[in-house]
C-alpha cells in the first residue's frame, strides 16, 4: 500500500535526463529513445552541460555524456562533476564512439557508471541506463528512509532521557517536599552544578555527557532524607545532638537507597549520584561527615554540590530560618560560617556567582522561592 510518505518521495524523484553531445543528430537519437520515459534536457557542449546541471541539479536523474566535444570535452566535464560531487548522487554514462582503453579507464576512475559505445543499440542502452537510474532512485529513497528513522530514534531517545530526568526529579522533589521545599531547590542545585562544571576550571576534562550526568546526580543529593523522621526533618528549632546524628544519616541512607534501585545502579549517572549523596556534607578540613574525607579526597562534584547546597539554603527560606540577602549569604560563606571549602572552589564560585544568581531571577524559580 502506498503511504503518504511514498507519494512524497515519488514527487521529488528527479526525472530529467541530460543529454550532452555536440552533434544534433546524436542528441536526437538518444532523445527518441528516452523521451517516452523522461523529460529531456540537451546540452551542445561540456560547458553548457555544467551550467544546466548547476541550474537544475536535483531534477537531473542521469547524464548521458559524449567525449569529444568543442569548448569543454567529456573528460573535462567529468572532472568538473567529480569536483562538484555530482557523480556521487547522479549516474553519468559515457556515450561514445571512443574505444581507446586509456580513455575508458580514466572515465571509470572519474566516477562514470557505465560506458556505452556508439552506434547505440536502443534495447541495450535503455536497459542499462534504466536499471542504473532505478538503482540510484532506490538508494536515495532508502537513505531518506534511514535518515527519517534515525531522527525518529533520536527523538525517542531524547524523550526517554527527558522522562528519566523527570522521574528522578519527581522522586527528589517528593522527598524535599516533606521538609517543605518546592521542586525549585533540586532544580537550582542541578543548574548551579552544571554551570560550575561548564564555566569554571572544575569542569576541565569533562565532556558534555558527563556534565549532564553529574548535574542529574546532583538532583539526588538529599534522597536519603526520606529515612529521616518528620519530627527531626521539620523541627523548627535547633536539633539536639542526638537528633543531629539521625539527620546526618541521610547521606549514607541516600547512597544506600540509590544502590538498591537496579535501574539506578546501571545508570551512567549512578557513580556520581552515589558519591554526591554520600559526600556532600564532607568538609575540606576533614571535619565533615559521614566519612571525614579531607581535601582532594572529596570529589569535585561532591564539593560543588556542597557549596551549591549551602548557597541555596542560605538565600532561601527554610523551616528553621528566613532567607538571607545574597550579600550576607556570600559573606557568611566567605567567612567560613557555613563550612570549610576548597579555597580554589570558593574563588571560582565567587567569580561566577553573579551569573548563577541569574538562575534565581528566572520566573519559575522566583515563584518557587517564597
Amino acid at each position: 500500500m502506498k503511504t503518504k510518505d511514498d507519494c512524497r518521495i515519488f514527487k521529488t524523484t528527479p526525472e530529467t535526463l541530460l543529454i550532452v553531445d555536440d552533434n544534433e543528430i546524436n542528441r536526437a537519437v538518444l532523445e527518441s529513445i528516452f523521451s517516452g520515459e523522461y523529460l529531456i534536457e540537451e546540452a551542445e557542449n561540456g560547458k553548457e552541460a555544467v551550467d544546466k546541471l548547476t541550474l537544475m541539479g536535483d531534477n537531473i536523474c542521469a547524464i548521458l555524456l559524449d567525449v569529444i566535444m568543442p569548448v569543454m570535452d567529456g573528460m573535462e566535464v567529468l572532472e568538473e562533476l567529480n569536483k562538484m560531487g555530482t557523480t556521487g548522487h547522479t549516474p553519468v554514462f559515457l556515450i561514445t564512439a571512443e574505444t581507446a582503453d586509456s580513455t575508458l579507464k580514466r572515465a571509470y576512475s572519474l566516477g562514470v557508471m557505465d560506458v556505452i559505445t556508439k552506434p547505440v543499440v536502443p534495447y541495450i542502452v535503455k536497459r542499462r541506463i534504466n536499471s542504473v537510474i532505478e538503482l540510484f532512485r532506490a538508494r536515495k529513497q532508502l537513505s531518506q528512509k534511514v535518515e527519517e528513522q534515525h531522527s525518529k530514534i533520536l527523538d525517542q531517545a531524547e524523550r526517554i532521557i527527558q522522562l528519566n530526568m523527570g522521574m528522578i526529579e519527581s522522586l527528589s522533589t517528593a522527598i524535599e517536599f516533606r521538609s517543605g521545599e518546592s521542586g525549585g531547590h533540586v532544580r537550582r542545585i542541578h543548574d548551579i552544578t552544571k554551570y560550575m562544571l561548564e564555566y569554571t576550571e572544575f569542569g576541565n576534562g569533562l565532556d558534555n555527557e558527563t556534565i549532564s550526568h553529574i548535574a542529574l546526580a546532583a538532583i539526588m543529593h538529599d534522597v536519603g532524607k526520606i529515612a529521616v523522621p518528620d519530627a527531626i526533618l521539620n523541627k523548627p528549632g535547633k536539633l539536639t545532638a542526638e537528633e543531629f546524628e539521625v539527620m546526618k544519616t541521610h547521606t549514607v541512607q541516600g547512597a544506600h537507597l540509590l544502590e538498591k534501585i537496579p535501574q539506578m545502579r546501571n545508570h551512567a549517572a549512578f557513580k556520581y549520584a552515589y558519591d554526591i549523596a554520600r559526600h556532600h556534607h564532607e568538609r575540606w578540613d576533614g571535619r565533615g561527615y559521614p566519612d571525614g574525607l579531607k581535601g582532594d579526597e572529596i570529589s569535585i562534584w561532591a564539593q560543588i554540590v556542597s557549596i551549591a547546597d549551602v548557597y541555596d539554603a542560605l538565600i532561601s527560606k527554610r523551616v528553621y530560618k528566613d532567607a538571607f540577602p545574597v550579600e550576607k549569604a556570600l559573606k557568611m560563606i566567605a567567612e567560613g560560617q557555613c563550612g570549610v571549602f576548597n579555597p580554589k572552589l570558593l574563588s571560582s564560585f565567587f567569580d561566577v556567582e553573579k551569573k548563577i544568581r541569574k538562575i534565581y531571577e528566572s520566573g519559575v524559580d522566583k515563584y518557587d522561592r517564597q
Partner: protein, 119 residues
C-alpha cells in the same frame, strides 16, 4: 517502405533495418533523421580540417562524424571513418588523409540515396 526500396538503400551503404530498429521501428523518425543528415556539417568540418592539415582537428571531426554515421547505420561510411579515426589517433595524418576520397565517395552515395528516397 518496400523491400526493393530497402535493398536500394542497402546498396548505398545504409543498413536500413538496423536504423529502423534503433528508432523503434518508426519510418517517420528514420526519415526525419536521414533528412537531418543532409544538413549535418560533420562532413564539411572533416574536409576543412584535413584541408588545413590540422591532425588534432581532423581526429575530432572524424570521430564525431563516425559517431553520427554509426547512429544512422551508414555501415560503409562508418567502416571507412573507423579506419580513418585510428590513423588520426596514432598521428598518421597522411594515411588518414589518403582515405578522404573513400569517405567522400561513401558520403555522396548516402546523400544521393537519401535525397532519392526521402523526398
Amino acid at each position: 517502405m518496400t523491400d526493393s526500396e530497402k535493398k536500394e538503400l542497402e546498396l548505398a551503404g545504409i543498413n536500413i533495418n538496423e536504423a529502423l530498429e534503433r528508432f523503434m521501428g518508426s519510418e517517420a523518425i528514420v526519415e526525419k533523421f536521414m533528412k537531418k543528415f543532409i544538413g549535418d556539417t560533420s562532413f564539411s568540418q572533416l574536409e576543412a580540417a584535413v584541408e588545413k592539415g590540422d591532425g588534432e582537428e581532423a581526429f575530432k571531426a572524424a570521430h564525431t562524424f563516425k559517431g553520427v554515421c554509426g547512429n544512422l547505420s551508414f555501415d560503409v561510411l562508418y567502416g571507412v571513418l573507423s579506419r580513418q579515426v585510428e590513423f588520426f589517433r596514432e598521428g598518421n595524418f597522411e594515411l588518414g588523409k589518403r582515405l578522404m576520397p573513400d569517405v567522400k565517395k561513401a558520403y555522396n552515395e548516402v546523400i544521393e540515396a537519401i535525397e532519392k528516397h526521402f523526398k
